[in-house]
């Protein structure tokens, strides 16, 4: 009887503590979102999307930074996603049980959690120092390196969801592995793979540290990939730390835009993957 009582008390304590922890987390998140939304929407105006980043004390917008972020994120995905997709395909299909896969999987996990500033420094040494100047392409490469392990992981996970019986069926008809992968496995895992790309985009679109040493920043409009390029995270960093009210307001707007973008991507990714969970797992 006393054991039962004790267990009940322990349960109540554990339950309340987890509730409190959840409440703290949620409260912090709400506080952040509320500050962001109120300050960001307060400063949001049409000119944000039409004007360049201003000098201190004058009015302006974020057009060059928005453009730079979109370009470098897109390029980063173009660099990171194909490599990640093929590496993930190797892990899930060709080298499922090979010792090399175990090593690659481990290194990929390390890379997944590596501080992004390390990636920035790596690309700084690799490209910026050799080229002699900061450039948008270096920024895109850094973002691509961040996106790569995310893609490797989601690709492997998604391909593993495709039942082995599909691959056997295709192999038994005389198909080469690559034929099976492109005609059966990829189409069956399509939704999951798209979700993976979206999550990778969400991941890199807010990265600041890798751009610090690579794309740097640019106060003016620039579409030359060989030159430093403005981008939202760096503008937020610079403007938020400044003493000028105009700059600070623009930093809030920039933070709001990135957050909404990531939120939007996450919602799409989620709706795709819930669809995937219902209809996308053939044969099981």
């Amino acid at each position: 009887m006393s054991t039962l009582r004790r267990r009940r008390i322990v349960n109540v304590i554990a339950f309340s503590m987890s509730m409190v922890a959840t409440a703290i987390g949620l409260a912090l998140l709400c506080a952040i979102l509320w500050t962001l939304l109120s300050r960001g929407f307060g400063a949001l105006s049409f000119s944000v999307f039409t004007q360049m980043t201003p000098g201190p004390g004058s009015a302006g917008g974020l057009l060059n930074a928005i453009y730079g972020s979109l370009v470098m994120t897109a390029l980063g995905i173009l660099i990171g996603a194909p490599i990640g997709l093929l590496a993930g395909t190797y892990l899930a299909e060709y080298g499922r049980n090979s010792p090399l896969s175990t090593v690659v999987r481990f290194i990929n996990d390390v890379q997944l959690s590596a501080p992004s500033i390390i990636v920035g420094l790596f690309v700084y040494m690799l490209m910026v120092m050799r080229m002699g100047h900061f450039s948008a392409i270096a920024g895109a490469v850094a973002l691509g390196i961040i996106a790569m392990p995310v893609m490797v992981r989601t690709t492997e996970d998604m391909l593993n969801l495709v039942p082995k019986s599909m691959r056997d069926g295709s192999a038994a008809l005389g198909a080469q592995p690559w034929y099976t992968i492109t005609r059966i496995v990829y189409p069956a895992a399509k939704n999951g793979l798209v979700t993976g790309v979206l999550l990778a985009v969400a991941r890199i679109s807010g990265e600041t540290a890798p751009l610090l040493f690579t794309a740097l920043n640019n106060q003016f409009w620039n579409s030359n990939l060989n030159k430093p390029m403005a981008n939202l995270p760096m503008v937020i960093f610079q403007f938020a730390m400044s003493p000028y009210g105009d700059w600070q307001r623009l930093a809030w707007v920039g933070a709001l835009l990135i957050t909404l973008f990531v939120l939007f991507l996450s919602i799409i990714a989620r709706s795709i993957s819930s669809l995937f969970g219902q209809h996308g797992n053939p044969g099981e």
Partner: protein, 284 residues
């Protein structure tokens, strides 16, 4: 001339079931040329020997059943014919399976498994249609073989579906998903898929174990009707099934071939005690 003999399936009362032996069919079967001869075949998973020195002759356009208790190696044996084991690392074949009349050693090191699977089809235990349309499921093996002409594909798909006794049920919805069919229809779709490529031997790995009795009866009927078109090797757990559909039966136990003979002999007058014990339901 048809004689009735009594057979027990090992699961119900002895003598409860009867099978018919067609004497003309039996004479035919004995005169059929050899399609594949298994000579001293052994198979290893790593160091473990799963098949011991098997010798069997598979007759052309006849149905050969492989029976035996779980783990006896009958599926392992079946998968040697189309080299499915090659997909797994550390497997090894010894001995030969000669395909006549071309005299190709199916398990030869210098023979490409893809080429083997081009000649030898397989139907799996669980229906595994691809997540594609009914048409594309059947056309898949043809596309693997490089057939692109739409007219030719349409012809071959129709022929295969007719031969698999599925055409009338699906002719109006060839574009709907193969997964929308019932279990029995899915399995007939998989048979059509294999037939489309005109295999020389068609392997069945317990094709009805995931189906209800009515669907099972239809598949059995279909397999018997395939005799005129293709040489069949079928693994089955169901002894009545072996007795109903096959011309020859191999009884396997612990990786050894205990007895191989005409089906009617195996079920009425087995020469080995172990065979008799198994078919009368004493173990298995």
């Amino acid at each position: 001339m048809i004689t009735r003999i009594e057979v027990d399936d090992g699961r119900s009362r002895p003598g409860a079931h009867k099978i018919a032996v067609d004497e003309t069919r039996r004479t035919q079967a004995l005169k059929a040329p050899v399609k594949a001869s298994v000579e001293n075949l052994s198979f290893y998973y790593g160091a473990a020997r799963a098949l011991n020195d098997l010798n069997v002759e598979i007759r052309d356009n006849q149905i050969t059943a492989l029976i035996g208790p779980s783990g006896c190696g009958k599926s392992t044996f079946l998968r040697c014919f189309n080299r499915m084991h090659d997909q797994q690392a550390g497997t090894r074949y010894e001995g030969r399976i000669m395909l006549h009349p071309e005299e190709i050693n199916l398990v030869g090191r210098d023979v490409d498994p893809i080429e083997v699977r081009m000649r030898i089809g397989m139907v799996f235990q669980k229906p595994n249609p691809f997540p594609k349309s009914i048409f594309e499921n059947v056309a898949y093996g043809l596309r693997v073989r490089g057939i692109r002409a739409q007219l030719r594909l349409a012809e071959e798909v129709e022929r295969a579906l007719r031969n698999a006794a599925l055409w009338d049920e699906v002719k109006d919805r060839l574009d709907s998903s193969g997964l929308s069919l019932s279990g029995g229809q899915q399995q007939r779709l998989c048979i059509a898929r294999a037939l489309a490529t005109e295999p020389e031997i068609l392997l069945f790995d317990e094709p009805t174990s995931a189906l209800d009795p009515i669907a099972t009866a239809r598949i059995e009927e279909l397999i018997v009707s395939l005799r005129d078109r293709v040489t069949v090797v079928i693994v089955t757990h169901n002894m009545q099934q072996a007795a109903r559909v096959s011309d020859f039966t191999a009884f396997m136990y612990l990786g050894n071939l205990v007895e191989f003979d005409e089906t009617s002999r195996i079920f009425t007058n087995p020469s080995q005690k172990a065979t008799e014990d198994y078919i009368t339901g004493r173990y298995g």
